[in-house]
Symmetry: C2
Subunit: 302 residues, 2 copies
Amino acid sequence: MARSVERVAVIGLGLIGSSIARAVKERLPQVVVTGHDASDAVREIARGLGLCDHLSDDPASAVENADIIILAVPVGGMADAAQAIAPGLAPHAIISDVGSSKAGVAAALAKALPDHIVIPAHPVAGTENSGPAAGFSTLFDGRWCILTPAADAPADAVEAVSSLWEALGAKVDVMDAAHHDMVLAVTSHLPHLIAYTIVGTASELEEVTESEVIKYSAGGFRDFTRIAASDPVMWRDVFLANKDAVLATLQRFNEDLTVLQQAIRRGDADKLEDWFTRTRAIRRSIIAEGQDDPAPDFGRKH
Amino acid sequence: MARSVERVAVIGLGLIGSSIARAVKERLPQVVVTGHDASDAVREIARGLGLCDHLSDDPASAVENADIIILAVPVGGMADAAQAIAPGLAPHAIISDVGSSKAGVAAALAKALPDHIVIPAHPVAGTENSGPAAGFSTLFDGRWCILTPAADAPADAVEAVSSLWEALGAKVDVMDAAHHDMVLAVTSHLPHLIAYTIVGTASELEEVTESEVIKYSAGGFRDFTRIAASDPVMWRDVFLANKDAVLATLQRFNEDLTVLQQAIRRGDADKLEDWFTRTRAIRRSIIAEGQDDPAPDFGRKH
């Protein structure tokens, strides 16, 4: 790194924040990790797990002398988190984040910290679990981390954040925040919305009991329940923050669903078979790109 | 078993049929497994794998002297398969199947084989892979197999099919075919339809390239691609055979999706958070019931 990074602060020690802390300690032992979480209970667990070299009760103290600060809180809480750390920031500090939507977060951080360097980031990784105990140091291995710096962001700051993520195991891409939000609306936000919807639908039918839904879930339904078990507050914020792109992709999904609905109603066998044959190829590409496990059924134990 | 089952015939040696043949050979070594597949190529692979004790080029020969015959072909092919085996059937033979929809299949089999005992069945198990090489003997372990016998079906025949499935590792339930079709529309058919839709939608957007969809699929999308990689012909037939129940559950899904769409548009944070909190509980129940892997992210390697 052209910039020296000796101290990294993580604000918010849930799944992602605690995974970053673990990965820094394991992969970059010379770097000091400081941390803070707004929740007393989370800080206590984080202390017990030894996640950070220094864990502060106060957000401003946690970021003192830090070269890079990573805000790992729900996107709706980014502005408040930025204001809370402001008094402790070193003049040279780079502020980054892990939010799943970027245009709104970038604007909120730039407004809250007008005199500091902000390099927004989004590691595309996670599990359905939440909290400091759910994190692990290898979460980012082979996954993409997308940076969305402003056009006038200093190149050495982009390089420093990029190098940090590569050291944690990630591959780094840089793109425009608005394009990020459209890409992630498709690859992450719409899938979560659909999964949340269908799990809700299935649990409230009159004709089929919840107990039956659970028993026979291996027919496909259980796959959706993993995503629909993701953190409710995090996802509430994502949909509110990336509203326009989510609604735009949802409209496209609804069009396609109506086309398939009509094909089923009309008994259009060819249309269904053609569609289902096309979609098969996508999974092969994802596996070829190393973005999913090639084992059948995600490698579930049978 | 009250009825003696010394010979089982499997017609159709894809993922499910070949898994049955493997499981019978492994768990019931005293039972002779005979088999047939309409495809020359599949029969050749099946011979190479040694899936059956006797593999016939002719369906009627494959079922001679068999006590139980299992039709493991797409539901749209059940009537033809039943007609093809009819000349070889022993008078006491029980004909069963593995179709994912039951009312239509039960009617087709009863019509094709009016003088024989038909006990329809559906093992709720599978992977996204197809073909004789994709099967494995433990596929049914701990999974449910649902039998939908007619009200006047002989109890000893139901018992014989039930015992066979239990010997293969499954748990057995008996229910009405119409109820089966509604339950599976929710737990399997609608999830497949939604997954096929979203994978198609994502691969045809103008704003986001297919390469981007693949790269950033770990944000949630990749989960859907597994199901959307399932056998196109099998699923084409399921949607055509269970049209009414699928369209009824799809309507409920669409209602719920519209409610969430409106909550996003209006910025109704409480509604979103409440919904996402409710759905989280369902996954815990599925894991508690032993119907999914408790490991985060389905136990994918990280």
